[in-house]
């Protein structure tokens, strides 16, 4: 895919608009449309408007794979924005890599990947809980219980959390994983009751997360004496579970709707008032997705300047994206930039406490941007560089997923 003069820049939005994944991913599509509208209104990218090609992946990994091919081969988009789950990302990466294309993956993930074709604007596992665990240990006590959904991201996140926990002098009382989508937390809560931790660290996702918080309260647990510190329970979740089930719990994220800065106010107001704001809220995942549009804009412009508009390829955008900064004036969460080696994002994780109305009060913010490190807990695997994973033997391996 290359750009043609006078034609809009086509990008693919690959999210699920139906099925189980539609809850977060529909918001992603909406916010990206909003972002591109905004960009187009302000003169487009490199002077050319962006035309998002929207497809529905139907929460079905087979469809993700098929639509990826369609967007790349038939629609000839210059870049893809898509996926919310690791599983769908993994499903499409072989195709993306095979075509040497470019995927903007706009949400948090576990890391341990080093490809030459992705740019991620969400927090990595090593950034996510770095502040949260010490904060909770200090505030509530040393003893913690890990609960997560049974898949890769929670497990990897927990491995990171364990590192921070050890540093903070905490003690892990137990670790439980619930099948994805399950809404039965009786047995797990029973174990937690027996273990009596000071707080719970949760990486439960989606509908399960909501059930978890509800049953936590219904089973008589008290948020004051044993709060849940989560990496996922954001504004959509707290609203869906009913504010009184969410109130008092903690979330670590780079963005909260209540962040108090002019850029964010503009973003929240502008978005909610626009035709894309029908779901009535903004949350961290949306904001990360929003940022990816600007990262793309900057990357394309940089690449065009470097190789000439006609020669811009997805790969050249990626290669020119290292070090791109999204300044306070654009980024609702504040300044972020893309790492020059692993193409993940430097950002400031923040900790919010859920209030009675479902919004979050920011109780702590990192004082400076934290570096993304996809291999933080696997130092033996090597380090991720621009050209691939550099192993301890000095060999560079491409496309490691």
């Amino acid at each position: 895919a290359t750009l043609k003069k006078g034609e809009p820049i086509k990008v693919g939005l690959l999210f699920s608009l139906t099925g189980a994944l539609a809850v977060p991913e529909e918001d992603s599509t909406l916010v990206l449309q909003y972002a591109f509208d905004e960009i187009n209104k302000n003169g487009g990218v490199n002077g050319v408007p962006v035309e998002p090609v929207i497809v529905d992946a139907k929460s079905d990994f087979n469809v993700y794979s098929e639509k990826t091919k369609e967007l790349i081969l038939r629609e000839k988009v210059i870049a893809l924005f898509g996926c919310y789950t690791s599983a769908s990302r993994k499903a499409i990466l072989p195709t993306v890599m095979q075509r040497d294309h470019l995927l903007y993956y706009p949400t948090c993930y576990e890391g341990a990947e080093c490809t030459q074709n992705t740019i991620c604007t969400g927090p990595l596992a090593n950034q996510h809980s770095q502040d949260l665990i010490p904060f909770m240990v200090e505030k509530f006590g040393k003893k913690v219980f890990f609960v997560g959904s049974n898949y890769v991201w929670p497990k990897e996140s927990n491995k990171n959390a364990k590192v921070w926990l050890e540093k903070a002098g905490g003690e892990l009382l137990g670790e439980e994983y619930i099948p994805l989508g399950s809404s039965e937390f009786g047995p797990v809560l029973g174990k937690i009751r027996d273990a009596k931790p000071d707080f719970i660290f949760s990486t439960v996702v989606g509908a399960s997360d909501i059930a978890f918080h509800k049953q936590f309260k219904q089973e008589g647990f008290k948020v004051d004496s044993m709060p849940i510190a989560s990496l996922t329970t954001g504004e959509i979740e707290t609203r869906a579970m009913g504010a009184d089930f969410g109130a008092g719990h903690f979330l670590s994220a780079p963005y909260f709707q209540t962040l108090d800065n002019p850029t964010n106010q503009k973003f929240v107001e502008g978005f909610l008032k626009s035709k894309y704001g029908k779901n009535g809220t903004t949350h961290y995942n949306m904001e990360e997705t929003y940022l990816s549009a600007y990262v793309f804009k900057a990357g394309l412009e940089k690449a065009a300047a470097a190789v000439g508009v006609e020669n811009v390829t997805p790969r050249s955008i990626r290669d020119n994206s290292g070090g791109i900064r999204i300044e306070d004036a654009v980024s609702p969460e504040g300044l972020i930039w893309i790492d020059e080696n692993n193409f993940n994002t430097w950002l400031k994780p923040k900790i919010g406490q859920c209030q009675a109305d479902g919004t979050f009060k920011i109780v702590k913010a990192a004082d400076k941007q934290v570096a993304p490190d996809p291999y933080s807990i696997y130092p033996d695997a090597g380090t991720c560089t621009k050209d691939g994973l550099k192993g301890p033997d000095g060999k560079v391996r491409k496309n490691v997923i």
């Binding site: 139906t18 189980a20 539609a22 809404s183 049953q215 219904q218 579970m241 009913g242």
Partner: protein, 291 residues
């Protein structure tokens, strides 16, 4: 792993069983009487949750009234479904599986179009978000409520099916429609009522699950397979479903106590296969007819 925790796990097992059972009740009625494999059962549960949500959100109906109201709303949907589609398929049981799968897609997407794909919230009385402690055992009030409702429904269904004329009629129709009709039973009406009843039960389950878990257009999908397993393992009878859910609930709770949730599920699935290997007709199924 002291005795108290194990006891707790056993008590929890009863509660899990009641959840599995109430999800399976409506299906038991529909499958057991009409032989209809209703893949839309999960979506009927979902409709129950949404009815409660609507009644509460738009009319301000107290939650406890939403439960019976959801029964009637979903029962009505069931009635329409039966009259409009299912009744043409009674002699083609496997086709009902496909047709109702289509129905489930329509219901799911219809609800999504109307209410959006974000989760909804049903408020329950504050008294329900607390727990009851009995010495070292503890259980949430809401789980007790579910258990109570389930027990009540099972008892009511038992009365209805085994102690009333209607029950005999239903069972007659399910065995041989022509003969039942030849002896003055209006089989169309019976089918219609049982289907509505089964749907209504799904509605009750939905309004309970909406509080326990989440209200989403896709929420039903997770219940339908497990409900199915219960009905078939139980052999399609009321007692069978009760026993099957009871056993599964306890197993799930105790196994999860000793291992983890995912593995507990795996074991349960395997046990179901092994069980059906030795009792291919399910629990409480009578030997086939002679030739």
């Amino acid at each position: 792993m002291d005795l108290g925790s194990l006891l707790n796990a056993l008590i929890l097992g009863v509660s899990i069983a009641s959840i599995w059972l109430i999800a399976a009740l409506g299906l038991t009625i529909i499958y057991g009487t009409a032989g209809v494999i209703n893949m839309a059962h999960g979506e009927l549960i979902m409709l129950g949750a949404y009815s409660s949500y609507m009644l509460q959100f738009y009319l301000g109906l107290p939650y406890l009234l939403c439960i019976p109201a959801s029964f009637f709303i979903v029962a009505f949907v069931g009635l329409v479904l039966e009259r409009g589609l299912i009744r043409y398929l009674y002699n083609r049981p496997l086709d009902t599986l496909l047709a109702t799968y289509g129905v489930s897609l329509v219901l799911m997407q219809g609800v999504r179009l109307i209410f959006g794909s974000d989760p909804k919230y049903i408020a329950a009385p504050a008294a329900f978000s607390s727990n009851i402690s009995l010495g070292f055992a503890s259980i949430s009030t809401f789980r007790v409520v579910i258990l109570g409702v389930t027990a009540l429904l099972v008892f009511g269904l038992w009365l209805l099916f085994y102690k009333t004329r209607f029950g005999v009629q239903v069972r007659a129709v399910m065995q041989n429609k022509e003969m039942a009709a030849s002896f003055g039973i209006n089989s169309g009406r019976i089918y219609m009522l049982t289907f509505a009843l089964g749907a209504g039960l799904a509605g009750v389950a939905g309004s309970l699950f909406g509080v326990l878990a989440i209200v989403l257009p896709t929420m039903g999908a997770s219940y339908v397979v497990q409900a199915f397993l219960m009905v078939v393992v139980g052999g399609g009878s009321l007692a069978g479903s009760v026993a099957a859910s009871g056993a599964t609930g306890e197993l799930q709770s105790v196994l999860a106590f000793f291992t983890n949730d995912t593995f507990a599920r795996f074991i349960i699935f395997v046990l179901i296969v092994v069980f059906l290997r030795f009792r291919p007709q399910g629990l409480f199924a009578q030997a086939g007819a002679r030739r």
